[in-house]
């Protein structure tokens, strides 16, 4: 089982680094968010920034949120990679070996989550270029990355579970549109939640993106660290892994 997992996991990673376009999209997409969306408040009065961003820099506020929301697209890419394997027959090649469907799922979920973390150092460097300064301890850096990794695993697992029986290229996009929009805006990734209507506050209060954004933001802004958020994200990852494993083992279809 470990042999099969390692082979498939490394395949996911190697394929990413050998496909410049995928790598480019993975890196550029969150960078664009930071550059365009982050700059949209560049000339806003300080009072507005204070109200929205709990500090003097909207970019510093936005960076953890952008990294968190980008983990949603990581899930979509993992799901597309699985559908590609089904459509080109590679999934059959895998399944006509002693490799279980659960291991295939696990390698895809962890592979796409790992791929998502490629964005992290690039975004941090980009934010530094845009003027954000970082004063984190090693533990805080690890906790921030760990929280994002949990979020990425959770969303990758969710996408893989929802698209387990599909061989249609369009499915991940449709699922992404259905999931991404409400989860992104019903979170505190882009704005503070103090002005949300009550129903959005309710969604935001259980939305893992909110938990990840708040965790990362506490490290960047130097405020009190909500360590419970890390536990919430770990629980989210574990639960989604369980669901994804179960669904894939039962319903992962090759054609």
């Amino acid at each position: 089982m470990i042999s099969q997992f390692w082979g498939l996991y490394l395949r996911e990673i190697l394929r990413t680094f050998r496909n410049p376009f995928v790598l480019l999209v993975t890196v550029v997409q969150p960078f664009m968010w930071l550059a365009f969306f982050g700059s949209s408040f560049a000339n806003a009065p300080p009072a507005v920034i204070q109200a929205f961003a709990e500090g003097n820099s909207y970019l510093a506020f936005l960076l953890p949120g952008t990294l968190s929301t980008s983990m949603l697209s990581v899930g979509m890419f993992g799901s597309m990679s699985t559908i590609q394997d089904k459509r080109f027959g590679f999934m059959k090649r895998i399944l006509i070996t002693p490799t279980s469907k659960g291991v295939i799922f696990l390698s895809k979920a962890l592979g796409s989550a790992s791929r998502g973390l490629v964005q992290f150092p690039i975004m941090v460097v980009a934010a530094t270029v845009f003027g954000v300064s970082f004063h984190l301890t090693a533990v805080e850096w690890l906790a921030w990355v760990g929280g994002l990794f949990c979020l990425a695993i959770g969303f990758s697992s969710l996408f893989l579970a929802v698209t387990a029986s599909s061989t249609d290229w369009q499915t991940p996009g449709v699922v992404s549109n259905f999931i991404t929009m409400p989860l992104m805006f019903a979170s505190t990734a882009l704005f503070g939640g103090q002005y949300f209507p009550s129903w959005m506050k309710a969604i935001s209060s259980v939305n893992p993106i909110t938990f990840s954004a708040l965790l990362g933001r506490s490290f960047v802004l130097g405020t009190a660290v909500p360590w419970v958020n890390f536990g919430y994200l770990a629980a989210f990852a574990a639960a989604m892994l369980g669901v994804g494993w179960f669904v894939s083992a039962r319903w992962l279809k090759v054609e």
């Binding site: 042999s3 498939l8 394929r15 050998r18 059959k92 006509i96 002693p98 279980s100």
Partner: protein
Amino acid sequence: MSAPSYAIEVRQLSKRYGSVSKGVLALDHVTLAIPKGTVFGLLGPNGAGKTTLIKVLTGISDITSGDASVAGFDVRTQSASVRARIGWVAAEVILDDDFTARENLWLQAKLQGLTNWEPRADLLLNYFSLADRANDKVSKFSTGMRKKLEIALALLHQPEVIFMDEPTIGLDVSTRRMLWDIVTGVHREFAVTVLLTTHYIEEADALCDRVAIIDQGRVIAEGTPSELKARVKGDTISLETSREIDAPRVAALAGVQEVRPQGNEWMIRVTSAEATLPLILSCVPTETVRRVSVEKPSLETVFLDLTGRRIGQDEPMRDIRKFYAQMRQARR
């Protein structure tokens, strides 16, 4: 416990896609026993159930009813043990194009849980004359090289049985001949049982120790190519005319066993074409004869004899579509 003498045993196996009322019965109570060490061919037209049988035996599709075992293990209950003992060569070449030949072998070794895989990989790369291209991306390989590598992947873990699903479909004549030599060589050198599907008559005849003819999900005949051809008594004359022939008169000729219309042609079964053809032509106005052909007993005539159709008849477009779909995948 003695080792099983059959590499594959299939008993009353049925496979249905969809519901009982609206679904398709792809396999209908198939029973087969494939001896160890043989090259066994499943011959039949497209849609006959050949690929479905491979899917079921390799664990890709579930069994609807009946039993099957491969390498002594039950396909339904011991699927992992079966999959550890089989290799698979797809109709369309399936490799990871982002990887080199050696990396594809590495991945296959990981999927099979092999540790000391490299000596075997080197042996296979040498055997298939791929050693000097081992570190090249397979996207740069020719179709023949890709096929060779795919067979090398199937052999890496020393399987007892290899499934080859239409291994030469869409290949040019020279590559197809090369594949035939490879299949024969692999069977001899690596002591493996080969189950291959094909709808090429000459392929089944040239490669297979035994052949099962499959049509509409049922095995309609099984034996060595010689045994099957011996079932057809005599030669077949195909006669295409512009007007209907006097069938009763032709049937009454000495040496004529059967006369039946088929499409635009008349199929006339005779004891000896050499002796009877002049007699037949004397009964038919010369100006109405468009084409005459003679077939000696072959697996094609066996199929014709059993089903009243030729392999591939009624399905030319399907075959072409399948071929082009597979080529598109191979070239991605």
